[in-house]
């Protein structure tokens, strides 16, 4: 960046150039809404407590990482429902291979990343070469993985060595290591989408595949790569979860609803479900909104199902507000 000028003009220009996604208004509203509830009912104990605030971020890690991958495939006009069982697969396979031994860790990590890349590759190939709708394709691969791991592993399988738990529990100064990883992933996602050719081409494919094709892009390859990246983010989420839980089980993916929630947070973040528009910063806000909601309701002792009702409301309201906005812009 050459805008080293400290004057207000440069700053203004900088803010305009990054164009803050409108979902951040929702995030701020939710934050202050939660803060007000806290003030009335808990005397400010929740939002005044740095540990709880940090916990909001830690809660966001698992969903946040996989949502980065989901954002990419959705920007490309595709979707990935199989992330949920890639997470499960990663958790059971890694703890099964590690068996509590630190020496097994590299082997296990290599294996799960290879498996993840394989699933992404298969998804991408089926979608682009066989022209099967992405929803159906990834629903299918999701079911296949689910059946295989559920028939092979029935319960907690193996364990991770103490040394591997640093991913889930270590801190750098006051900041949890996993939160740093989350922000690195978000930053990497932003970089790939807005600063690389692959990113620019992904927006092209998602925006209008025919336009992309007529501009000479290899549309199939772009989408396949996006699916591989998405599955790899699911693997990373799986590793984070297994290091938190210390062992893997086939149900950790579906228990967290990572398929639908990663899609929901992406869309709440302003990415168009049809593709071609959006980005990871919006998705981060979507993930944080869900975490703040959960934490606030949890701490206040409200019925947890009410928080789910609120999630539903937010999804609908956020997307409706974007539609109205874009209609106004068009007029």
């Amino acid at each position: 960046m050459t805008t080293t000028t400290a004057n207000g003009k440069g700053l203004k220009k900088f803010f305009r150039s990054i164009s803050i996604p409108p979902v951040y208004y929702f995030l701020i509203a939710i934050f202050f809404g939660g803060g007000l509830l806290d003030l009335f009912y808990a005397g400010g104990q929740i939002f005044g407590n740095p540990a709880i605030m940090l916990n909001i971020l830690v809660r966001s890690v698992a969903l946040g990482i996989v949502a980065v991958g989901q954002t990419m495939v959705i920007v490309g006009g595709s979707i990935d429902l199989s992330v949920v069982y890639v997470i499960s697969l990663t958790s059971v396979m890694s703890s099964y291979v590690m068996q509590g031994e630190a020496s097994n860790v590299p082997k296990a990590i290599l294996l799960v990343f290879l498996m993840g890349a394989g699933v992404g590759l298969v998804n991408g190939l089926i979608i682009t070469k066989l022209k099967v709708n992405s929803f159906i394709t990834t629903l299918g691969t999701s079911l296949i993985i689910s059946g295989i791991i559920n028939s092979t592993f029935s319960n907690w399988e193996g364990s991770v060595p103490r040394s591997f738990e640093f991913f889930g529990y270590a801190t750098v100064g006051p900041i949890p290591f996993s939160v740093i990883i989350l922000f690195l992933m978000i930053f990497a996602g932003w970089f790939v989408l807005s600063r690389t050719k692959f990113g620019a081409h992904l927006y092209g494919v998602g925006g209008n595949e025919e336009v992309a094709r007529l501009s000479g892009l290899r549309t199939d390859r772009v989408l396949i790569i996006a699916h591989v990246i998405c599955s790899l983010t699911a693997v990373l989420t799986g590793l984070f979860i297994v290091s938190r839980l210390r062992a893997g089980a086939p149900w950790v993916g579906p228990d967290g609803y990572y398929d639908l929630e990663s899609i929901a947070t992406t869309v709440v973040g302003g990415t168009l479900l049809a593709g071609g528009k959006g980005g990871v910063w919006g998705t981060l806000a979507g993930v944080l909104i869900f975490s703040i909601l959960d934490t606030t309701f949890n701490q206040l002792g409200v019925n947890p199902y009410l928080s789910i009702v609120f999630r539903g409301l937010i999804i609908v309201l956020a997307v409706a507000s974007y539609t109205i906005r874009s209609k106004k812009e068009a007029a």
């Binding site: 600063r195 050719k197 990113g199 927006y203 092209g204 336009v211 000479g216 892009l217 812009e329």
Partner: protein, 525 residues
């Protein structure tokens, strides 16, 4: 250099591109038949002809979107053939369709260089891409008006077109093909496009454009090629002909069948539909009467407002001002369901998307409109409604739907049979006023004749028909009166069996002094 030498040089210059003996067949039609045209550098070449003359097919073949069945293409004396538009693009042939090939959610610069982004250390060089975009926009002389970082979706149609042209220029286009470039532009924007085309011309780029508007053809082009029924009528120098010459080259298509006899004015009943001073966003001051037993033909070029008028009468996009009288009663028809209840029927232009539910059986398609005006709780019966339980077989026989079973999904029927299903749908709802929009488009000759007979039968039974058609022989062969539209206005009314020339002159606005006086004279006989 003397005038003579100049002329000689003009004659000796080499064509940039030549198409020779190009033939292209589609199922049931020969879209292009042995067409031969030469395109010269720095020349603006207009391609004109009625709908279905083969203009778009020729352009798509040159741009690599279609592969010709026969014939050769020479680009700078070298034979070329394309199996994909990208190949044509690489050889310097770019095409701009009416529907732009742009990404609305991406910036101007990103759109121009999609797939060719400049990078620096693996990263997209955002500064360079904007710089390059500015340079291309400056090249075509529009640098000041379009910010390179603006989203394309937020630009006006004219600006988007400029972005498309910039993209083509950045691809080093030698030949730029434009399909109806002025159709969506305002008068000022057309002037700007004209200037832009002149600048491209000076760079030696060959510009080919399809247009229906003869005024602009004469204003912009150097050469005009006229196609008719897929055949080349001729290529002429613009300054050596008049618009009447060109129109007379375009018209006079061969009749492929005989039409049923026209109605007899004595048999026409009272006025059933009457529209007075009606306007909306597209239409200006529409006035006409439709009598029982009459076929009123609506002619006009694409985009002249014919379909919009049908949609306004039927309540799809209603009139905003003015009055509509049906059967002597003043009505405001704000929705299709109101129109159906007032006994109107609309056989739309696009059968597959607006007229039929392709995956549903014939019987449900026929009963669609009658069911739609029933209450939610009316029980559904298989073959009809309570009043007439055998509606489906009765209508099926009446309009002669050729099928082994009414359970067959309509997607498997021929175009002619599908049209009959749509017709029975409206007969089922007992419509008195029928609007037909391009009733025989994409239908083979035999089915065409039977649909024309059916339209005539409707009027013999005292129903009234408003028929929109781009096929001038159809308009002339079927209409008891002809209205011609242009730019959202009715520009004139012609008596039955007027000539194609008269209609085209009104439709293109080239009847003497560009408009209204003459047409009025003809209209009020």
């Amino acid at each position: 250099m003397s005038e003579e030498e100049k002329q000689k040089m003009m004659n000796e210059r080499k064509p940039l591109m030549e198409v020779r003996n190009i033939t292209k067949r589609f199922p049931g039609v020969v879209a292009l038949d042995d067409v031969l045209v030469k395109f010269y550098p720095g020349e603006v070449h207009a391609v004109v002809g009625e709908n279905g003359a083969g203009k778009s097919t020729l352009m798509k073949i040159m741009a690599g979107a279609y592969i010709p069945d026969k014939g050769r293409m020479l680009l700078e004396d070298e034979e070329v053939s394309f199996s994909h538009p990208v190949q044509a693009q690489e050889k310097g042939i770019s095409i701009i369709y009416q529907e732009f090939n742009l990404l609305p959610e991406r910036s101007v610069a990103q759109n121009i260089f999609l797939g060719r982004e400049p990078t620096f250390l693996g990263m997209i060089d955002n500064r360079k891409i904007r710089q390059m975009a500015r340079k291309v926009l400056a090249d075509i002389g529009v640098e000041g008006t379009i910010p390179t970082s603006k989203l394309v979706g937020n630009l006006s149609v004219a600006e988007q077109q400029q972005v498309e042209i910039a993209k083509a220029i950045s691809l080093d286009a030698k030949i730029l093909i434009m399909d109806e470039p002025t159709a969506a532009l305002t008068i000022n924007e057309v002037k700007m496009l004209d200037e832009l085309i002149k600048r491209l011309k000076e760079r030696g780029i060959a510009i080919i454009f399809i247009s229906h508007r003869l005024g602009e053809v004469f204003q912009i082009s150097d050469t005009i090629t006229v196609l008719k029924d897929g055949k080349l009528v001729g290529t002429v120098k613009t300054n050596e002909v008049t618009s009447e010459d060109v129109v007379s080259m375009m018209v006079g298509r061969i009749l492929d069948h005989y039409f049923p006899p026209l109605g007899v004015p004595e048999d026409f009943g009272e006025v059933i539909l009457s529209v007075r001073n009606a306007s909306n966003d597209f239409l200006k001051n529409i006035n006409f009467d439709l009598k029982k037993g009459e076929v009123l033909g609506i002619a006009g070029l694409q985009g002249s407002g014919r379909t919009e008028m049908a949609q306004a009468v039927f309540g799809v996009v209603p009139f905003k001002t003015g009055s509509v009288t049906l059967d002597g009663k003043n009505q405001t028809i704000k929705s299709p369901s109101k129109a159906i209840k007032k006994q109107m029927g609309f056989v739309t232009e696009d059968r597959r998307s607006e007229g039929l539910c392709p995956q549903q059986p014939i019987r449900d398609n026929i009963l669609l409109t009658v069911r739609s005006i029933q209450t939610m709780l009316t029980p559904i019966s298989k073959n009809g409604i309570r009043r007439s339980p055998d509606l489906v077989p009765r209508l099926g026989e009446e309009v002669d739907i050729r099928t082994d079973s009414y359970d067959r999904e309509v997607q498997f029927l021929s175009g002619g049979n599908q049209q009959k299903v749509i017709l029975s749908k409206w007969l089922a709802s007992e419509a008195d006023v029928f609007i037909f929009d391009e009733p025989t488009r994409g239908i083979d000759v035999q089915a065409k004749a039977s649909i024309h007979d059916m339209i005539r039968d409707l009027t013999k039974q005292g129903r009234a028909v408003l028929m929109i058609s781009s096929e001038l022989p159809e308009i002339i062969g079927m209409s008891d009166r002809i209205l011609v539209m242009r730019d959202g206005k009715i520009t004139g009314e012609l008596p039955p069996e007027s000539s194609e020339l008269d209609i085209m002159l009104l439709a293109t606005g080239h009847n003497g002094d560009n408009g209204s006086n003459d047409s009025k004279g003809k209209g009020e006989k």
